[in-house]
Each structure stands twice: as structure tokens, then as C-alpha cells.
Amino acid sequence: MIAELGHFALVLALALAAVQSVVPLWGALDREPRLMAVAPPAAIAQFLFTGLAFAALVHAYVTSDFSLLNVVENSHSSKPLLYKITGVWGNHEGSMLLWVLILTLFGALVAAFGRNLPDRLRALVLAVQGWIASAFFLFILLTSNPFIRLSPAPAEGNDLNPVLQDIGLAIHPPLLYLGYVGCSISFAFAVAALIDGRIDAAWARWVRPWTLAAWIFLTLGIAMGSYWAYYELGWGGFWFWDPVENASLMPWLIATALLHSAIVMEKRNALKVWTVLLAILAFSFSLIGTFLVRSGVLTSVHAFASDPTRGIFILVILCLFIGGALSLFAFRASTLTPGGIFAPVSREGALVLNNLFLTAAAATVVVGTLYPLALEALTGTRISVGAPFFNLTFGPLMVPLLMLVPFGPMLAWKRGDIAAAAERLMAAFGIALVAAAAAAFAMGATDILALAGIALAAWLMAGALSETAFRIKLFQAPLAESFRRFVGLPRSALGTALAHFGLGVTMLGLVAATSWSSEDILTMKPGESVTVGGYQVTLEGFIPRPGPNYEEIAVRFLVRDGGVTVRTMEASKRNFATRATSTTEAAIATFWPSQVYISLGDIATDGATTVRLYWKSLATLIWLGAIVMALGGALSLSDRRLRVGAPRPARKLAAVPAE
């Protein structure tokens, strides 16, 4: 009964979404407040019904109700409870249900906390949310229904893909979806503004925090996905320019651009049209990402099922929303009144430059991802676009952008002084040079590109710090005064500094891990040793043992530093009988901030095994930097002050750039 109740709740949610997409829009166009007032309760009820449906599916998974086809195909009664729950979204149908659950959650949040929004804007935003939700509810019910029943129920299920039986599945998809779907709010606001033909203060005040929240989740989701691939797939790499990864990178780049242009929008009331366009693009890329991953166009661990009708359905949704929004933009953008003016050298100017670089970078990723698909569809030729392409296109675009990052926060609004900003960054420049020299001394000056990368990373970090140091007059005023100023700093300013610092940390990790890591592939027997990154790694022995739903052979390694055992590592191969597949569990030992990474190849019958041993130089910094970035975003998000970008008066030069 619970399963059927969930099914009915899902259909009801569709009905409410349909009402929500028509009635408030009608009310807004007709200026009828009661029709507009339908939107918030409909959005909240829609979320509750979707939540009920989701809970019903979780219940079916937890109780191993194999009368649901979806549960049979993706679960097994002996699976640990955690994976029974995460298995709900470890498949196509369930993950789409999670997608709409988050979509309706955001709609409900707008409804619940949107009291200070103008009625018309709120009604329009929720109506647009209603369109998106209706499309995806229809998609789920007609092509990917998780509530399809099976009678008689089979005794046992097919189990979840073993690669997905990992804690990562509990974290990565929900975070990524929060990011993807969070972009739908900015999209809904943008489309609402276009329908309404105007953008007011409430618009900007709402879009920036939503974008920021979506961006935080997207950042964490991508970083978590990268780390999961790193430790689970056993290749020891963290980014492969795989189309599925690019699908998440594109919205991230655009969301980053949107985030920065929304700051201008909120503080200076400028760049309205551009912000609206970015908001549309960010969600469009989220949809394209969903399409690429879900349609089966790409084969990867994410392509749970490839069914042509689903692909076509998503393609139609894609065309309707992206095409519709962009045409609306083309017709209505001219009605939006342009906002404040600014000089080319100013905070606004720097942010525009940032936007240009980021969108251009996103464009190269789009080309690199979609061109092979288009080529294969048109001519049947299969080409593979990988790291070389992106190193040549994406890299050169990111380098100047990263070099310019420290300048942005140093410039004042409306009109800035580039010479003064450069002067304040001299210290950071010096630190960058010292860092490169130190790296050259430690690792040898053979790899000039790597040294330049280190310098760039140090420049980013020192630049972020010197901005804060400058604001609190560190070393220029007494320490007590600096501390007082530090406490008084707006959290959004600290957030900016922290996020930019995190970018530098990630950069440092990327450069070091690609340039100074080592890789050994060899056959080892118990008792044999090998040196990795200054540590002696000894294969101690094989330990066969049963798991809850698999059999595994663990291989134990001892890590010694100068004869003293400092760490025990266990890599293993797991064999899942139900799916007749095996997975390799890599062993990772962190010697802060670097890592020793061991992955097993085939285990021969004579007791020898192929082992891949990596020394991953500074690798943890890659993901740590992403977490720092997200923390910066969260800090900025917590700053709910109203923002006015006070321009510096033209007649006299004040010492402090305004926040």
C-alpha cells in the first residue's frame, strides 16, 4: 500500500505542478492577487507530495519490496542498509525522483521565505518552477517510473552496481543535484524578469544568495565526484576530461561567472541583461549535463540505462526550456532598463573581465564535449577529445584569469586605480617568485611550466591574503587596531578572500600532483619491498575474507619510514557474485598533504600480484582547496546584509575601498 501511495502522491505532485504553472502566471498577467496567491501553497504541497513519494521508494528499498521493478533491478536483500538507501538514487528512475525532490524543495523554499518578494515576481518565479517540475514529473511518470510493479515478486534482486556501493554515492549525487537544480532558481528568476519586463531590487537581492548556494553545492559535488573517482576507479587520476565530468564543469564555470555578475547586479544595479543571460545559461548547462548523463549518449558509470525514448524526451525538454528562455531573452531583453555606469578600470570592469574569461572557458569545454558527439552523429567518425585539447584551449584561458583574480577585490567600485592595486600586490608577487624559486630548489628546475604553475598558485593565495591584510591595515596600524578591523570586516569580504585562497590551494595541488607524482607498476610477492616517495612499502600478505554481499581478497602492505612502520595499508579486490563483477578497492595513506596510493591488478595463483603504486604529491590539496572555496561561499552566504556598492566619491581619494 505504501508503494502505491507514493505513486499516487507523485501523480498528485504533477497535478499541482500543472496548476502551479498556469494559475499564478494567469494571475500575474491579469494582476489578480488571489490567483497569484495560489503559487506558494501549491509549491509547498508539491514538495510534500514528492517527499512522500520519495519516502515510499526509500521504504520499498529498505524493506526489500521486490514487487517494485526498480527495487528488483537495483537492490539485494543482503546489501548493507546504507547502500539500500543510497541505492534509491543509484539508478536512473530513483535519481530522477531525487532530482525533482530537490527541485520542489527549492520551489517550497522560495514559497516559504519569499514573503518580501513582490507578489508578481514570486508568482512568476513559482510558475516557471512549475513548468520545469511538470516537465520532469511527466518524464518520470511516462518513461522512468520507479513505481512500476511486478507480480509475482522475485525472491531476490539484481543488486546495485558494485562500483556504486560506496559512501560516495550517499554524498556525491545529492550534492551535485543540489547544485544543478539550485541553478533552476536563478533561471526561474531570470525568466520571470523577462516576462515581467523589469528587474527590481528584490530580484538582485534574491538571485545572488541562490546562485551562491547552488555554486557551493556544485563545487562540493564536483570535488566529491572527483575524489570518489580517484579512490574507487583505481586509476589514480582525479580528472579525466570525461564528457560526464565536463557536463558538471560547464554549469560550474557559468555559475561562477553568474555569481560574480550577480554581485555587480546587487551592489551597483548594473549588468542586468548579462546577469539574466548567465542565469539562463547556467541552468541550460545543468539540463544539458542531465541530458548527456541520462540519455545514454555517453557510456560511463553514470549511464544507468540507455533508452532512446528517454533520450528524446529529455531532448524535447531541453529544447523547450533552453530555446524558449533564449527566445524570450531575445524578445524581451531590450525592455530591461540598464543600470549604473562604471569606468573600465573598476571592480565592475574586473568582474566583467572575469565573466568573459569564464564564459569563453565554458565555451571551450562545450566544444570539446559536444563536438565529438556531433561528429559521430553526422559522419560516424569516432574521435576522442581529451587532455591535450583542453590543455591547449582551456589552460591558456584560465591562466590570465587566475593572474587577474587578486586584482579584482583590490579595485574600487565604479572607478578604480590599477597602479595602486598593483602596488598593494607587490608583496604577493614577491611571495610567488620565492615560492617558484623554492620549488625549483627542491624539485629541480627542469619543468618550467610546473614552476610557473607553483608561482601562479602562490600568487593566488598570497593575493587573497594581502587583500585581507590590506583591509585590516596589517603591519600599518597597531595589531589591536588590525584585529578590531578584522572583526569588523564584512563576512562577504572574508568569504571572497577565502574562496580565492581556496582556488590557489587547488591550483597548487593540481600542479604538484601532475608534475611531481610517481607511478610504479610491478609484480610483488609477500615480503617484497619497494620505495615510494621516500617510504618503503612491503607487501605483507593476502587475507581472503567474506563481506556482507561480496568475497574479498585484501592485500596488506606495511609502510616504513627509515625502518619504523608508520602505516598499514589494505588494498583489495572484491567479487560480487550477484552481478558477477569485481571491484578494486585502492588503499590510500595520507602523508599530509601527499598520498601513497596502491591499487591491485590481477592476483596470480602463485601468490604474486600486480601492484600499481603511486606517490601523489600534494594531491589532497586539490579537494581541500575546493572545500575551502565552498567554505568561502558559505561565509559569504551567511552575510545577509543588504548590499549597496558605495562608489568612491570622484573628488577625493579615500584610503579604504568600499565594501
Binding site: M1, I2, A3, E4, H7, F8, V11, L12, A15, L16, V19, V22, V23, W26, D30, R31, E32, P33, R34, L35, M36, A37, V38, P41, I44, A45, F49, L52, T63, D65, F66, S67, S77, S78, P118, L141, N145, F147, R149, S151, A153, P154, A155, E156, D200, A201, A202, R205, G488, R641, L642, R643, V644, A646, P647, R648, P649, A654, A658, E659
Partner: protein, 367 residues
Amino acid sequence: MAVLAAAAALVVLVPLSRGGRAAGAPSPAIAIYRDQLEEVDRDVSRGLIAESEAEAARTEIARRLIRADAEAAPPEPDRPLARRAAAILAIAAPLVAFGAYLWLGSPEMPDQPLSSRLDTPLDQADVQTLVAKVESHLAAHPEDGAGWEVIGPVYLRAGRYDDAVRAFGNALRILGSTAARETALGDAMVRANNGLVIADAHAAFERAAKLDPTAIAPRFYLAVALGQDGKKPEAVAAWQALLKDAPADAAWAPVARAALAKLEGSAAPTAAASAAPGPSEADAAASADMAPEERLQMINGMVAQLAGKLAANPDDPEGWARLVRSYIVLGRTDDARDALKKARTALAASPDRLAPVEAEARSAGIE
């Protein structure tokens, strides 16, 4: 469900019946600008921004405020027609949802969680459920040797040979070694390896033969193993010894004779040695130690399997011929006629290929 649907309708209807925002309240945009002005004052008093900047900010806000004031439009009077239409829509939506659900869903089906499926009375449960029941019991009590011994043959019949090896292995480990258990383990291993007598299976058969030198099955498999190892003279000797002890009507005897004949290089006249895939050596050997009714059950099982295979892939004249012959041998004449009819339909496109089936039917006189 009715409650849910009613809730959905109410959610829409309540705001429709209520009044909108009171007229004359300041528009939210203007409220935001007022808040911004207050915040500038607060920042100045906290020393975050200089007075000159605050002045500039106030000017900027005032500029936006004036624009927002000019844009604010008075609300229009309400229209009962629109509201009525919306209300109809609101009531219709849950009804449509109900219809859509009846079309998509299975309202009559109860939940069937694992626990309730395991609780179904024994006489109503199907084999799979019984297996699941025993499996969950064994997962909780892995040291229950009798349980493993019960489920082993079930696995074997279901074709889950790897599981059967595990089950028999566990039974052996817990309950101790007997000739029957060793034989069962070895038999499962051979099946799991497509009929090959692997080293572990060989060892098991040797232990079984030592425990009970009169048992047929271990000796049979050991002879097969010798043949597979290419030890021709030893294999011939083993088969001959086995046949010498065999009762005249032993079901496995034809298989043994065929193997012997093959080893000796002469053509075998017996049916079992013909090219048609008959029961595998393993099946035949297993049937050697069976009671007659068990053997019949096994044969029926194999015939059913063949019928199933033909239902899935009917384009197989030899298969149809074999099925008809099997039914006749088993005395199931009606089934044989039925199979013949099915074969005629399935092979209607190529009557010449139907010939072997017709011939089989004619020889038994069923037509």
C-alpha cells in the same frame, strides 16, 4: 489517497477564496531600499565606511527608490470569472491525477517486503521464496550444516552450481565427511566447470571412493577424469571394472559403454552416444544413485527444460524431434501430439525441415 487528493485541492482553493495583500502596504522593493538606507547608517556608526562613502551610497539608493516609486502600479480590481475558472481547474487537477494514477498504477497490489514474503505459509510459497527463506536462515545461522545440505540439491537443480559448491562444501565442513557428501560436492564442482573434473572435485571423489568403495558415482567420475586427463589405458580399465559391477538395467550403463567405446576407438551403437545432445555424463551418473521416482522426476525436469527452450527458440527441428520422442518414451502421448502440432506451426515456413519430426511421430504412430 482520497485524503491526499482532497488536501491537494484545498491547497489551491484556500488562497483563491481569501483576499490578496492589503492595498496601501508599501511594495517590497521600496521596503528593501528603506532597509538599505538604515543599514548605511548602521555601517557608518560602526565605522565600517566613511561618511563621504555613506553619502554617495545614500544618493545611489535614493535614485533607485525614486525609480521604484514611479514604477509601482495600483492593483487592478478582482475578477470573479478568472477565480471561478481557476477553482474549477484546481478541483479538476486532483481528479485528473486520480485517473492518471489508475492508468499508471496498480492500486490492487499490496506491498510485498522481504519479511512478509518470507512469512507466507509453506504450502503457498513457490520454490524461489522457499530458497530465499532458507538462504536468510543460513545467513543468520551459517553453522547449520543440515540447512546447507537441504539447499545444495535445490541450487543444483536451479543451475546455480557455484552456490551448490558452496552449500555442499559447508555441509561437508560442518557435518563431517561421508561418501555421499563428498560425491555431492564433487558433482557440483564438475557441473560448475562444464563437466570438467577439476583437481578439487577429483580429490573429493577419491575421498568418497575410499569411504565407500561400492558407491558407483565416485568411481564413474574418476573414470571420466582419467579419460579427460588422456590416460587412455587406465580409463579403459576403470570403465571395464565399473561395467563389470553394474546391474543389467543401470541407467548409467549406456553412458559408460559409450565412453568405453569412444576410448577404444570404435563407433558406439547405443542411443546415448549418438550426436544428439542427450543427458550429460554428469546427469547420467547422478541418476545412477537415484531412487526410481527421483530419476523419473529428473528426466521430466529435463524434458520440461527442452520444451521451454523450444518455446523460446522454436526454429530447431532436431529439438522438436527429440521432444516428441521423449514424450513418447515417457508415455505422454497427448503431450507428444501437442508438441507435434506446435512443431508444425513453428516450422510451417520450411516443410522439408519438419521431416525428422514427422518421421519420429510416424514411427510412434501418433501422427
